[in-house]
Symmetry: C2
Subunit: 157 residues, 2 copies
Amino acid sequence: MIDIDGFDTRILAFLQDDAAVTNQQLGERIGLSASQVSRRRQRLEETGVLRRYRADIDPASVGFTVVAFVGVALDAHSRQNARRFKDLVRGLPEVQEAHVMTGDMDYLLKVVVRDLAALADFINEDLLPHDSVRNVRSSIAMETLKDDNLLPFAAGL
Amino acid sequence: MIDIDGFDTRILAFLQDDAAVTNQQLGERIGLSASQVSRRRQRLEETGVLRRYRADIDPASVGFTVVAFVGVALDAHSRQNARRFKDLVRGLPEVQEAHVMTGDMDYLLKVVVRDLAALADFINEDLLPHDSVRNVRSSIAMETLKDDNLLPFAAGL
DNA sequence: GTATCCATGCACATTCTGTGCATCACACCT
DNA sequence: AGGTGTGATGCACAGAATGTGCATGGATAC
């Protein structure tokens, strides 16, 4: 693990909340010059701590109204099946997250689509036809209370 | 819904993937001048389509190694209980996402913590003591295959 | 004590941003 | 058809942000 001091941590905490902040502003808040913030950011980017910068788009305003979590159980736990399923989900743009899970479902997918019809299509045409899939169990998010995806830097966690 | 044309869609698609791109580069890729890209971005920001810009930090490199999904069932489906639980999860920094779900679990939380001990603490000290919570069912992500949180602009979805 | 290494601040050249302005295309109305 | 208005566009330019060179200072090791 790269060594990250208090300055770095504070830079990361600010940037993950608002990446549009300038190095100057950032420096004022943490007590560092803009150039030094620039250098630290560059180091954090080069070492892979800062992976990239992303725009956060309101899904509803561009027509994506349905979020669902889909649990998937594979047919046999062979290495080959797992491999093929990984390749599948990586290529599906509707899948925002895919995790290998403990418990009775092998995978948990977070899926974003335009409407319920698109969700049905996704399950029936992308997931179920894949012959390593035994069964799926989907649950729809009726309301999203929080979706910031911020690492809990706050509170010294 | 704000009207968004093809230029806007392409701007959004690029920005959600890489917000560090300059207006000049963006303009070259979609066939627009930098100034016009700037104006469109400003409009998208003002109308709330572009909510904010975030740095994507590698969780492992700053010590957050455990991702878990926690399903929560409330005791009684009273409006008051729901309200209090909402306020609770909004204030918990470990919770990256919180959704109200269909199915046998009322809520699904995505939780990020440093280790399994912190997960146990979170469940035993933050969740279970809350007297509207009936029971929780947690599942740990052993491996994350995908976590881009990109809206599926690609493929004309 | 001395040498070395690294973080820091300052200055400056380069790049980026966003606004003013004139032009153009398109729609609408008479 | 002609005239008018609205909005999108590109260009130019002023202001701002970035990042690199350079000298300084503090800490560590020998």
